[in-house]
Symmetry: C2
Subunit: 303 residues, 2 copies
């Protein structure tokens, strides 16, 4: 009997579900995605189908299946709750998927946590020593803090919850009940609200393009957004002081122009402050690679 040597990772999102198969050297040897369907029964069926699809004949050699999902996650039991985008109130996702796959061990984690693990692995390989922070500029804003490759949850599960530090000078109301939370200005959803675009075009590239062409409104909004990003970066750098800060989430799809406006913001701050300049934050920034299945890869590692 041979050792089970494959890992499967599944990233469950509001619009798609994606799976990867990793071999014993942790290379991605197969991947597949399907549109997400709402409802717990559909999610379980789609996840099981995807695992069978990417594993194929090697299904019997799969050691573990990891899943990353939005909503509240209890990793100890595999139960998820409050996944609004998928119409899930509560679902015993882990046990149901394991049962349908003949008892293979499964692990369920938060989707941002899984993306953080995946991004660090893809960017750093096996060189996981030290502290790496993944900043998820998605619908909200949250950080995943990894120490020596291991995700830190903190004493109360609040490690990395920088999106709800209420220090932004615009003092916008946040659904959390505070005012001025950083995510009211520099999350993907906030940029979409501050800079609405026609026909579903992503707002951040449009905002940066218009600001560069001299549009005064765009410059004003972009300055608000990059200021909040700058505060977020200083908070991360001057608390946990990581060797790398990885910019991820939907907003990262903006690509190089996003990195450029962040570096401009940092440069402006550094001009007046030798202490900040000495931290060399710009050299520690990385953008996640476009279109890599980071969430699925991270879910496999987290398993």
């Amino acid at each position: 009997m041979t050792e089970r040597q494959y890992l499967v990772g599944v990233d469950i999102g509001g619009t798609k579900i994606e799976a990867v198969l990793l071999d014993s050297s942790h290379a991605v040897v197969a991947s597949h995605r399907v549109p997400a369907r709402r409802g717990g029964d559909n999610v379980v069926a789609d996840v099981v189908g995807l695992v069978r699809e990417v594993a194929g004949e090697r299904l019997g050699d799969v050691a573990r299946v990891g899943m990353g999902t939005p909503g509240r996650v209890d990793s100890a039991t595999g139960r998820i709750a409050n996944v609004v985008n998928l119409d899930i109130d509560t679902l015993d996702l882990g046990p149901l998927v394991s049962e349908r796959l003949g008892g293979v061990p499964v692990h369920v984690d938060n989707d941002v946590n899984a993306a953080a693990v995946g991004a660090a692995r893809v960017l750093c390989g096996d060189d996981t020593a030290g502290t790496v922070v993944f900043l998820n500029f998605g619908t909200g804003l949250a950080a995943g803090v990894l120490v020596d490759g291991v995700l830190q949850h903190g004493y109360s599960g609040a490690a990395g919850e920088v999106g709800h530090v209420p220090v932004d000078p615009n003092r916008f109301d946040c659904p959390c009940g505070q005012q001025g939370c950083l995510e009211t200005v520099c999350s993907g959803a906030s940029v979409a609200r501050l800079w609405p675009t026609a026909d579903g075009r992503p707002p951040m590239p449009d905002l940066i393009g218009k600001a560069r062409s001299g549009d005064a409104d765009a410059r004003r909004v972009l300055a608000m957004v990059t200021h909040a990003i700058g505060d977020t970066l200083q908070i991360v750098a001057q608390s946990v002081d990581p060797r790398l800060i990885i910019i991820g989430g939907g907003m990262a799809k903006t690509g190089a122009p996003l990195l450029e406006v962040i570096l401009d913001e940092l440069h402006g701050r550094e001009t007046s402050c030798p202490f900040l300049k000495g931290l060399e934050l710009g050299a520690r920034l990385r953008l996640v690679p476009a279109d890599a299945p980071l969430g699925a890869i991270g879910a496999a590692y987290a398993a």
Copy 2:
């Protein structure tokens, strides 16, 4: 030949130098302090004298001497620099003390770091598991982050430098070159500037007392200070999420009234935000014990 089983810790301050002797169970078995004298030669002589004083006949059984000092510290070489309060430009403190004590191994560390280690030891004993943050409200504001009892310096030595996160709404100029650094409002020196007192009385107890008796100016200034403390606590809690946050530094000598106004600030913030309330930050706050020689104890442990 018996094992050398004693540790000596020395806390070098701008007004006094204090030493403790720890036995093999890490109990303080002797302590002594002298007024600080300026100049490198005096500092070396005073440290050596204090070590001889606390060790007495057990000097030959001292395994290591640790020192905590202000200024810039190179722990690898034992050299210190820019200790303005003691008129020291550069001084090979570690090698000189070691030589005068017959070659006993010495270790030199930053005074805030030493106080952080000492405070965590005194408050937690040997139960050092998890993350503990020491907030030093001294001349400046900085945090010491301990993980499993070990001080974290971070990638660039900036771990815990929350005093220079520039998010305070008063936007005061900071000597570091930024505006709105948290330490421009909630450090000991800042409170002394915002609320000057006659005849050298400490400003924070006076400020709290006047605010409680209804003085409008005192209420306004106290609100600024506790707001900055609240932001500092949220930054710490929502980045590293420690199990304990220890309030130290000169401002901590205010005692229970300081803890009360901080809890009031947190309570106000929690009223509108279930997320923040769920973090139960108030239950994680501790004040350093009054007059315990934390810096000297921490220096001994750090050695």
